[in-house]
Structures are given as C-alpha cells and as structure tokens.
Amino acid sequence: MTTATDVTASELREILATLTGRDELLAIPAGTPLFGGAVALDSLTGTLLLREIQRRFGVDVAAEDLNLDALATLGTLAEFVAARRGQAG
C-alpha cells in the first residue's frame, strides 16, 4: 500500500532532481542521507529545497524543526512533510 509518506517522498525526489540536475536522485531509497552522504546536498541547495517545500506544501521545516533533524534522510523529511502538508491552509 502506498502511504502519504511514500507519495511525499516521490515528490521530494522530483524536487531534488530538478534542483540539482541529477536524475539519479529520482531512484534514491528513503533511508538515503541528504547531507554528507550519497546526495551530499550543499547548504544553498538545501535552502532551495526547504523554500520549495514551503511553497508547494505549506510546510516551513526550518521554523517547525529548529534542529533540522527532519533533514537527516529523504525518509525523515518525507515523514515530517507528509504529517503537516495541507494543515496550513
């Protein structure tokens, strides 16, 4: 069964691939670290990712998760966003 988190993870993969121009990010597993691991996002791209999440899903990750623990992996970010998307409006 496809969960809301799975759907959000797929959307986040598409955002990541668009921001970085790296199509291989369309296939990364949910447990993939976003910073310092396979994806190795730099801080500027990470900021663009968070701004796009806020624009598209209405979730301000930086404001709601001050330690940014949600950014550990694709899966933790998808879970965080899926639980909050749509709540703002």
Partner: protein, 268 residues
Amino acid sequence: MAAHPASPVPAQPAWLRPSRPGWPGPAQPAPPGLVLPAPPMVDLWWFDARAEVVRPADAAVMDAGERRRARALLSALDQHRFQVAHVLLRRVLAGYLAAAPGDLRFGRQRCPRCGRRLGRPVLLPGPGPAPFFSLAHSGDLVLIAVAARPVGADLEQDRAGCVCPVAGVLHPADAAALARLAEPDRHRAVIGCWVRAEAVLKCTGEGIGHGLSSLRVGLASGSTGRNRRVRGCSVRGLAAPPGYQAAVALAGPDAVTSRPMAALPGPG
C-alpha cells in the same frame, strides 16, 4: 578556464602534487616553508578538480571518515571532487605544519549558539600551533583559506535555475535590496549575498540551521564589494573565476585582506 583574475599569482608549489618531483611521499612530511600570514591577511588556495589526479596512494592520506564520505557519494565525479578537496586540504595544511598529510587529525568545535558539535572544523592539537582554515568546494573548484585567526570561506557556482527564493532567508534589508534588482542580475546578487553570509557563519562556527537572517552582508558593488563588519568578523567578496562567486571572512576588527597562493591550473 581563464586564469584567476588576481595577480601576481604563484604557480602551485611542486610539493602539492605527488605526481611531480619534489614530493617526499604521502606518508612523509611536506617540505617546510609555508608561513602563516599575519592578520588580517588570509592565504587563499584555489584548485580546479579537472586538473587533479587522485591515485589510491594519494587518497590513502584521508582518514576513515573521509573515505567513508567519499564512498557514499553516488557519482564518480562527486567522489573525485570530494577526494581532491580533502586530499589537497591535507597537503596545504601539512605545508604550514611541515607534517605528513596523513598524520593530520580533524575535529569539530561546538556551535557557539547551541553547543552541538557542528561548529567549525579544526585541526586537533598537535606539536605546534594549529592554523585556522576553511574549505569550500562547488562545481569543479576548490577554495582553501588559511589564517592565523578563525577564518571562513565560501564558494558557489552559479546555478542554472532561479535562486530568488533564497533571498527569503537572508537579512530583510538585503532581501529588500535584492527585490529591487531585475533578473538575471538578481540571481548573481543573491549568490553574492549568500557566499558572504556563509563565510561569516563558517568563521564564527555557527551552524546554518540558526539561519542567515540576522547577518546583514549588503549587496556587493563591482565584482567583490567592500569589507563589512558582521558578527565580529570582517567579510569581503573575492575575485573568482567566471561562473563562480566567493567570499572570505576573518575574525577580528580589521579589514580582511588576502593573497592567492596558487594559480588555477585549468583543465588538464
């Protein structure tokens, strides 16, 4: 690629490249000779990853954590760029310490805002005073800043897409000034503000998770702009190769100056 615009710029010392004569080998100390610049001077080392070859013996100077991070990267190109940045960081610092690159040990200071060990990377105590350093890499380029005081450097390659959303995380006065610019000038100005703000954060050791909105770095006039005092640092944009922007920040009240230590070799 065009040569770095600043001049005169010395060629890379032969000992930085093990494949050239003069290097005593990755396990042996680098020849002595590099002296830390007196503040507010910062030494800037520029490299082009396309011109660098990292053989297995060269990569062996990295520690287990660096090797693990390199292996985790998805593409061979990203792995190469990471190895170039971290092997050359070790060689450069070894040149100031007359130490073997593989003997250097790195740690992280605590973030001065939250106390988490996510602050500035530092050399762990050795026999002599450790130089302060900052490593930045983006696209094909690597920038290493070395100084006698805490230093931060940032380097960003221009992006193909729109970066205007980033303005929303910058200082409100800077964001307002950026909003008055037309594209594509605004895109370049956004990246310019970003590298100056990042250089300040890397200098103070604050994690980027604490945000950039309290750092008013201003829009640069001309290619690099003037010195600004931000959060106890002096920050300034740098003349960077086409397609890139860079900045350096130095702790302390006096205006930061810099000297390029190696000419970009360009693609081999």
